[in-house]
Subunit: 153 residues, 2 copies
């Protein structure tokens, strides 16, 4: 595989799956003495164009973001629809799900990774950009998320 | 609990448990296009003074450190002796084990956390400092590691 396909090795985010985002957000706020950031919900499928394992999915998740100095810590409470979040939570229980990297040219990167036995798990759009979760569990022991921001016009 | 007991909320390290540190180190080096850092082994019990759940333990681990820009990524291959590494790897399989924070006054912090139902899991010494793993799984869904450097003389 081409070296440094992502064009970066800077981790920008750790994603942690939880059953109860309000409870765990408050625990983080208390433990680290920071403000509880509250949570938002990912877009509905017609906006987010969510795809999980190649199929359109109604899945949504509640998200809470903490600035941990070096990077963002993201808490994720998924709904019951099919997603990497729900699947991983059901199989592994609460805990870390992914590390994220900011990239440019996501589509080409996803294609090349898939050719190298690291298939796309899930993708979707959000205001200002898009994400893709890659199945890197076998080589890296954690899922990699790619984040691409819209180009400013 | 007192707010911000650690005196920081900056994550300095993510620790990931693996079965084969040489294989996974090479996978990280290949994926991110960085040098394979090789591995080192933690000190023997008479040097490291390793304690796991309040008892002296012979446990050691092979460690490999990658600089991921924002923080360090640590791969950990534990031996078979009792440790949080071995226990967590046996129960959860390969994957993330802890997030780490640099602290001062570790002993007092550990005591206060234990009083607040976050007991010490494991501690040990290494050249230049010491570490303590805290059982924060219930509130934070991940283990917290405290790292304290020796004061320069």
């Amino acid at each position: 595989m081409e070296k440094n396909l992502l064009g970066t090795h800077v981790i920008t985010q750790i994603g942690i799956l939880v059953h109860d985002i309000e409870k765990t957000s408050q625990a983080y706020a208390d433990f680290f003495g920071v403000a509880n950031p509250g949570w938002s919900i990912t877009g509905a499928v017609d906006v987010a164009e969510t795809e999980y394992r190649g199929e359109r999915s109604e899945a949504r998740a509640k998200l809470a973001f903490f600035n941990m100095g070096s990077l963002q810590l993201e808490l994720i409470e998924p709904d019951e629809h099919p997603s990497t979040w729900r699947e991983y939570l059901d199989e592994h229980g609460e805990g870390p799900h992914h590390i994220a990297f900011g990239v440019e040219g996501m589509k080409d990167i996803v294609t090349t990774l898939a050719r190298n036995e690291m298939p796309l798990l899930q993708k979707g759009e959000y205001t200002g950009g898009r994400y893709a979760y890659i199945d890197t569990l076998e080589p890296l022991k954690i899922i990699v998320e790619l984040l691409e921001r819209d180009k400013k016009k």
